[in-house]
Subunit: 305 residues, 2 copies
């Protein structure tokens, strides 16, 4: 039995360097935190519009939400159990003038600031759909309900792999309904997602997936979720990137948030998520870093000037 | 001399209730944190496009940034001195399995979680333009440089006044150049801002303003900034809301981030900021909560379907 090949980020880091050199991304002094330049922003906006045209229907509920979320929601959903290492919790200074002097001394001396701060009631959203479920409490319409949400998400995993940014945008369509409706939504979207990506010139394969649950949480939670990913080999055939994913949560959130179908049963929920930056990074790897040289049809599809 | 009238938020809270009833905003269990519904989102998107058409030129640099910012930037800018009470600092769990058990016990018992967390290297952006200055380090072009940025901002001031959300979006055009260029940019934008708002059917007055610096910071910082606000009486004539503002920082950021004009002097900077939610809230107060009844020309201007 051979030892596992150690992970090297060479191809990913080289791609990051090219993105930075082309000013598609702009660095900060922190890994995984980047500003987006003009061309990257154009692509993000074009992708947003393309998803809207493709995925939104008359009855879709639209939600846009702050990047912060009540901490009580992620506590209720068990995020501290499953992914404590990824969660960004917010803390604040709540003292008066005397405490302020102590805080400033700590800032000046580079001492730990945490003893001067208090935990607040919000966390950074680790996924877009946590904002959706609380608004679905009650009885759903006969046809179920689809919500279109996009949000900035944060996961605390500093890395020089541009496909693993700490702060990124996630677009999701979340459906709540009967088990049949939820599964139907999920299955149709797995096909539609491939077609959506194909229209962008991207060839994706579908694979079942597991989330990287923390410690002992894995076995407990894995049984409650059913996840598929759409994978594209952005810079490496052996380390493809999940640019979209689908989660079927069964009645997990239906129970947690008292979401019911008209017959009174706990609703089943499923979501299809678009990793916005990852799709843009796949597009740039596929078609090149100079947008002006992309195929005309694709430029028009994305509304590039 | 009469006692100052105590602040009552009645008119503001009543407006919030109307916005929630119309599902323009959706409540969380926290004051100042709201999801945006379909119509509110449409208005935000229309406003974004209108600002792009009005304010962006060929030479404008476009930046879009995460809602989190390296803590080192706000430390360098003296934010802990000036507004420590408003800043959201991020902290994370960095322990192993044993520490995780202790964290979960604290979650379950409602105990303080902070002893189980460590301060991270990012904070929530308190204003959009903090992301701009580090990228201007070096020598500016002859004509100076204008940056178009929009960002989610967070300020920790829980309130039921919808004009004072904790999490909100700020669009800014930031100019760096000679003192004459910066002042010219500032002065032209104060006029242009009024015209921009007038096109939306909003009548704003211009007034000099001070930021609410914390404690002893006020005198120190106030001398370094020169601020104008565009005020609209959204729900109260005596408590008008600043929907846009202009800050002239003289060479404060030029020195801090080593931004130079071609003659080698420290650059002067100024920014014009659009309070996105506040402009939308002014529009809704002015034209009513039913977008379908708005004047046709305004609907077309904002690209409402």
């Amino acid at each position: 039995m051979s030892a596992p090949t150690p992970y090297t980020a060479t191809a990913e880091e080289a791609y990051l360097d090219r993105l930075l050199a082309a000013r598609l991304l702009l660095p900060t002094n922190l890994p995984g935190i980047y500003a987006r330049g003009s061309a990257f922003t154009q692509l993000m906006e074009g992708l947003e519009r393309a998803i809207t045209r493709y995925g939104r229907t008359e009855s879709t509920q639209i939600l846009r939400c702050p990047p912060v979320l009540p901490r009580s929601i992620v506590e209720k959903c068990g995020y501290f159990q499953s992914f404590p290492n990824l969660l960004g919790c917010m803390c604040c200074f709540t003292g008066g003038t005397t405490e302020h002097e102590a805080l400033l001394s700590a800032v000046d001396s580079g001492a730990d600031l945490l003893p001067h701060l208090e935990l607040s009631d919000v966390v950074l959203a680790p996924a877009a759909c946590y904002y959706v479920y609380p608004y679905l409490t009650g009885t759903l319409p006969q046809a179920g309900k689809t919500t279109d949400i996009e949000n900035w998400c944060y996961r605390h995993e500093p890395s020089l792999n541009p496909m693993r940014m700490r702060a990124f945008r996630m677009r999701e369509f979340v459906h709540a309904g009967t088990p049949e409706q939820a599964l139907g939504f999920r299955d149709s979207w797995i096909e539609r997602a491939q077609a959506f990506l194909a229209r962008l010139g991207l060839s994706a394969t579908v694979a079942p997936a597991d989330d990287p649950f923390f410690g002992a949480g894995e076995r407990l939670m894995a049984a409650q979720t059913l996840k598929f990913e759409l994978l594209i080999p952005i810079v490496s055939d052996t380390r493809p990137t999940a640019v979209m994913s689908s989660n079927y949560h069964k009645d997990h959130f239906g129970h947690l948030f008292d979401i019911r179908t008209p017959d009174g049963a706990a609703a089943h929920t499923t979501c299809i998520g678009f990793g916005m930056e990852r799709i843009v990074l796949a597009l740039l790897a596929q078609h090149g870093l100079q947008l002006s040289k992309w195929p005309t049809a694709l430029r028009e599809h994305l509304g590039l000037a």
